[in-house]
């Protein structure tokens, strides 16, 4: 059976388990043929999953919550990265705590999501009078050219490495250490309709990914070389370093989403105006036992 998976961003080590499962034939073993697609915009994946045009989407827990708030019928199927990786990143050494950013321009990467998180972050940490600016994907140039003092959105595991490669040392505040509740950074999501019609296939997909996750824990070097086999064009040095940082955050084999984590974040989102409606985690997290 064929499954279409749309990523959240261009392929990178975050998606390594998917490529390992693909290359190790775990998908095939489940009778699946998985097509991996890159989106044009971060919100595309969830939209298309909700519309049933792709079967699975890689998305973020906050984004899924906000999408559900907007009425999209999607559920988290399995976690991929279980801890937040997102940071508020800056270069200036003189910035010691978030409040030092008051009155400055602060960039954000994903409009509609990161700007909201930034608002919450600023409220909690007493950043006043700042100007939010959408910088898109150009995080480092925006920082390096001093157009913005900090950027909300880069991953501490990936962007730090690419910046290091360019000879720039990035400093950052980790969100979860500054009052933002812990959340699952990357998850697999599927539309409700897909979950009914292709239930078995989705199960098979999750099983295959878990197998890959187990392999990664066992033999990281082999996993990485399988990944490079799948994506021959990527910069090996960066990805290797990023993988070293990311590996510990991957979900454990068999791990499922934690409803309490989701509830905490939903409360936070309600409080800071990211969402307007009360949402129940059990409506968002799909589990085989539910039905």
């Amino acid at each position: 059976q064929k499954l279409v998976l749309m990523l959240d961003w261009f392929p990178n080590v975050d998606h390594l388990p998917v490529y390992v499962a693909q290359k190790s034939g775990y998908f095939a073993a489940q009778g699946l043929e998985v097509e991996i697609i890159v989106p044009s915009e971060t919100s595309d994946a969830l939209k298309l999953a909700a519309a049933g045009k792709v079967d699975l989407a890689v998305s973020y827990q906050p984004q899924t919550i906000m999408a559900a708030d907007a009425g999209l019928k999607v559920k988290a199927v399995a976690p991929l990265v279980v801890k937040p990786l997102t940071t508020l990143m800056f270069l200036d050494e003189s910035i010691k705590n978030p409040a030092d950013l008051s009155g400055k321009k602060i960039g954000y990467t994903v409009p509609g999501l990161m700007d909201m998180l930034l608002k919450g972050f600023a409220d909690i940490n007493g950043i006043t009078d700042y100007t939010p600016v959408n910088v898109g994907f150009t995080i480092l140039p925006a920082l390096a050219s001093k157009q913005v003092a900090a950027v909300m959105g880069p991953f501490k595991t990936y962007e730090t490495v690419t910046m290091q490669q360019q000879g720039v040392t990035a400093r950052f505040f980790e969100l979860e250490k500054y009052g933002i509740p812990e959340y699952e950074e990357l998850i697999f999501a599927a539309g409700d309709a897909t979950l009914e019609t292709k239930k078995a296939a989705v199960h098979g997909f999750v099983i295959a990914v878990h197998k890959a996750l187990a392999d990664i824990k066992k033999d990281p070097d082999k996993a990485l070389s399988l990944y490079f086999e799948a994506l021959p064009d990527v910069d090996k040095e960066i990805e290797t370093k990023a993988f070293a940082l990311t590996a510990e955050y991957f979900a454990a084999p068999g791990q499922v989403s934690n409803p309490e984590k989701w509830q905490t974040f939903i409360d936070f989102a309600l409080k800071y105006g990211l969402i307007k409606n009360t949402i129940r985690p059990q409506d968002l997290i799909y589990s085989q036992n539910n039905d």
Partner: protein
């Protein structure tokens, strides 16, 4: 103009809208992917107070972009016309400049030019510049050589010829290019607002898109289209006023 000819586009519009509405209803296309036209229209009207200041900001960028484009492409076209050798050498650059996908550069451009209005104006400018230059140049070059010689015999210098002969000759083609230019200028400004904007229809669209307010996205498109049509009509009007001598 036949009555049926006026009727046809109206019928077409209505037909498309109805079909769209019906299809969206029948196929249960989710509103976050393609809202029904009724929802879009409603949103465009109800949310007008929200949209209006953004539209104003975008309009300003477009107008500045067009002004800048006119101010640069007219002299350039004339210069290239006056020196065909230079035209030969320069046109590959012009062409190359067009094949550069600006929106891919947009984020970098914004960093070069700052997050203010100028990066957006620049985008609009880049996009309009080319069609105007090409059409004006092609219009100037299409001038009947016999008339050129006549003016030489009258002892007219280049500027005199330009004023009395080349320019009026090129006007119709210039206007054709200008029409294309002002229309796509709207896209230029919106692309500029993609990143680094605090205001403008492009900003509003990106935000609404991310928040899955797809009807607002399409409402913005409706407003943009309105602006495009307005500019088009304005240019058509100017054309009618300035190209009066055609005998039909």
């Amino acid at each position: 103009m036949k009555w049926s000819d006026t009727l046809f586009p109206a019928a077409l519009t209505l037909g498309i809208l109805v079909l769209w509405e019906v299809l969206v209803q029948i196929m249960h296309t989710p509103a976050f992917i393609l809202p029904p036209p009724s929802a879009i229209g409603l949103c465009a009207v109800i949310k007008a107070p929200l949209i209006w200041p953004h539209a104003l900001a975008t309009a300003l960028e477009i107008v500045l972009g067009i002004t800048l484009a006119l101010g640069t492409s007219i002299p350039l076209a004339i210069f290239m016309f006056a020196r065909p050798g230079i035209e030969k050498g320069l046109s590959p650059f012009l062409v190359a400049s067009q094949a550069v996908p600006v929106f891919a550069l947009a984020p970098l451009l914004v960093i070069w030019l700052g997050y203010g209005i100028w990066s957006k104006v620049f985008m609009a400018w880049v996009i309009i510049f080319f069609p105007i230059t090409v059409s004006l140049l092609s219009g100037l070059k299409s001038c009947d050589p016999d008339f050129r010689k006549l003016f030489t015999l009258m002892g007219a210098g280049f500027w005199m010829k330009l004023r009395l002969l080349y320019w009026p000759w090129a006007l119709p083609q210039f206007f054709a290019g200008l029409k294309v230019g002002v229309t796509v200028a709207t896209i230029g400004a919106v692309i500029g607002e993609w990143v680094g904007a605090q205001k403008g229809l492009g900003y509003l669209m990106i935000q609404s898109n991310a928040r899955l307010n797809t009807d607002l996205v399409f409402a913005c498109i409706l407003w943009l289209s309105g602006m495009g049509i307005g500019l088009w009509a304005l240019v058509s009007f100017a054309e009618k006023r300035m190209v009066t001598w055609k005998n039909n």
